[in-house]
């Protein structure tokens, strides 16, 4: 995450973009532009790798600008799998909600669908394997759990995550200048809301 921040601030000519994931950072670059701007001794890939390694080394003592406070995200806990998931862990639905809202999670990466944020880790007491047979359609805004990850479906999509609730907030809106509600690295705190509050806030 820190490497991504450094590369965005100070990158090489020909740099296009990065894709952060759990344990990796992919760097996309325009080979022709890199070649036109730097003396390439072996391959362009080697140049980019060396540049990235130097950026990594420069990270010692780097302090991230990413110090946003946690984002509060309202969730109405009414998911189709909430009761089943609670039973599986010998908990009540209220306890599952308390545990899910009780721990601040981090956005590890965004992928799968536009705006789908993989967040974690959820408390071990509610970590649950994906459904054996995925649903053909999951409603947008659905909040789910898969293993120790939690996430929100930004669009209607097939999906196998255990659904525990629904957020009224549009987490991906192509009409907005910044379409995605989250960025990788963000901290998120879920806040339980009632059906009435959900209806008042509903952006879908």
């Amino acid at each position: 995450m820190a490497l991504q921040e450094v590369l965005q601030q100070k990158h090489f000519k020909g740099f296009i973009e990065t894709v952060p994931a759990y344990a990796s950072l992919a760097i996309f670059y325009d080979m022709v532009k890199v070649t036109a701007n730097y003396p390439i001794h072996t391959t362009v890939y080697d140049f980019v790798r060396d540049f990235t390694e130097q950026s990594l080394n420069a990270l010692v003592g780097f302090s991230s600008q990413h110090t946003k406070p946690p984002i509060s995200l309202p969730v109405h806990y009414n998911g189709e799998d909430l009761i089943g998931l609670a039973n599986l862990h010998h908990l009540s639905a209220e306890e599952v909600i308390k545990i899910h809202t009780g721990k601040i999670v981090r956005v590890f990466m965004i992928g799968f669908l536009p705006g789908f944020a993989y967040m974690g880790k959820v408390d071990d007491r509610i970590a649950t394997a994906r459904l054996v047979s995925p649903r053909a359609v999951v409603k947008p805004g659905s909040v789910g759990i898969a293993g120790s990850q939690t996430g929100i479906y930004p669009l209607a999509s097939p999906g196998g995550w255990q659904l525990i609730g629904q957020t009224p907030i549009k987490i991906f809106d192509s009409k907005k200048e910044t379409p995605c509600f989250f960025q990788a690295g963000d901290l998120v705190q879920f806040v339980a809301i009632s059906k009435k509050e959900f209806d008042q806030l509903n952006e879908y």
Binding site: Q4, I16, E17, T18, V19, P20, A21, Y22, A23, S24, A26, F28, M31, V32, T35, T42, T43, V44, Y45, M109, I110, G111, F112, L113, P114, G115, F116, Y118, P154, L155, F172, S174, P179, C180, F182, Q183, A184
Partner: protein, 327 residues
């Protein structure tokens, strides 16, 4: 100044060279499947490489030109006809107002590109005209073209009075890009090392047949199963067009232009960018052979292709200078 779709095709979408800078929020590049043909079609109309074009699958739409236009058709050969007269692909075409463009039958390739001088005017989203089918944004209302859609383009100069030299792409250039059609060169991808030695050999020896479960998102391939050294659990990570993923049943998939930005299946190889146009023009049923090459070679191939494209651009623009006042 516009065209009108008088009969819809199966999937005709507005595309450019794709969207960059938004993969980190899960928005992939989309864009033309065959970037060589897409750029060439633009150059043949005197455009820069990145104007919006129409990517056409067969059955193709029938198109009425409501104004004079300078166009070109590249990529797949679907036996294009204007007013029932066959026209040549890969060259500048002058189309008169009232003409109808039809594509009669698929001769070769899978995707044709129709460019117009000045570019098709369509919706830009996050810096690109490419249609994002899943989000229904970009291009023409974020969807495939339908009957009665009209698409505008800038007025062409009064070119019919002028003597012009239509530009064309020499067959030798096309040969370099598209032949041998079944031989796809690859680089080892991050999880290549997870394959057993015998499976690494198989990757280059076996035939991989493109199945009917193939679209702009990816091509599912039928192959004798490959297996990793050990059962695997992978954390999701970035993928790209050309990434070959190994599925749990041992078959494979090649990700194409509308792929997701991340994936959790092992990435065993990556098709080199230079060979993506071949893949874009391949159809279900076609068998592919993979050859692993080294990074330096892949970079040389790409540099050469970009150089060819630059030469094509210069040559086309020189021919069209008189009518397009490109200076």
């Amino acid at each position: 100044m516009s065209i009108k779709i008088i009969r819809a095709g199966i999937l005709a979408t507005v595309q450019d060279s794709g969207r960059t800078g938004f993969r980190s929020i899960g928005v992939g590049s989309a864009g033309a499947m065959d970037l060589f043909a897409m750029k060439a079609s633009n150059y043949l109309c005197g455009n820069d490489g990145n104007e919006a074009v129409i990517e056409i699958n067969f059955p193709a739409p029938e198109i009425l030109f409501e104004q004079d236009a300078i166009v070109s058709i590249t990529g797949a050969d679907f036996s294009a006809n204007i007013n029932d007269n066959p026209v040549l692909p890969w060259r500048t075409l002058l189309v008169k107002k009232g003409s109808v463009l039809k594509f009669k039958r698929p001769v070769s390739g899978a995707r044709a590109y129709l460019a117009v001088s000045g570019g098709w005017q369509s919706g830009k989203w996050l810096g690109s005209y490419s249609t994002h089918l899943k989000l229904s944004v970009g291009g023409h209302s974020g969807r495939a073209l339908q009957k009665d859609d009209t698409i505008s383009f800038p007025a062409a100069n009064n070119f019919f009075g002028n003597k012009i030299l239509p530009a064309f792409i020499p067959g030798a250039e096309l040969e370099k890009v598209y032949q041998p059609a079944n031989n796809i060169r690859c680089l080892p991808a991050p999880e290549y090392a997870m394959l057993t030695e015998s499976n690494k050999r198989k990757l280059e020896q076996l035939q991989f047949v493109i199945s009917h479960q193939s679209d702009r998102m990816g091509y599912r391939l039928k192959n004798e199963p490959l297996m990793p050294e050990q059962p695997f659990e992978l954390l999701s990570s970035a993928v790209d067009m050309g990434t070959i993923q190994l599925l749990p049943d041992g078959t494979t998939i090649i990700l194409m232009a509308d792929h997701q930005t991340t994936g959790g299946y092992p990435r065993v190889a990556t098709v080199i960018k230079t060979d993506l146009p071949k893949l874009a023009q391949a159809s279900p049923g076609q068998a592919l052979n993979f050859t692993m090459i080294c990074l330096a070679e892949a970079e040389t191939c790409y540099t050469n292709m970009q150089r060819s494209l630059e030469e094509i651009k210069q040559a086309c623009h020189l021919n069209l200078k008189m009518i397009l006042s490109l200076d």
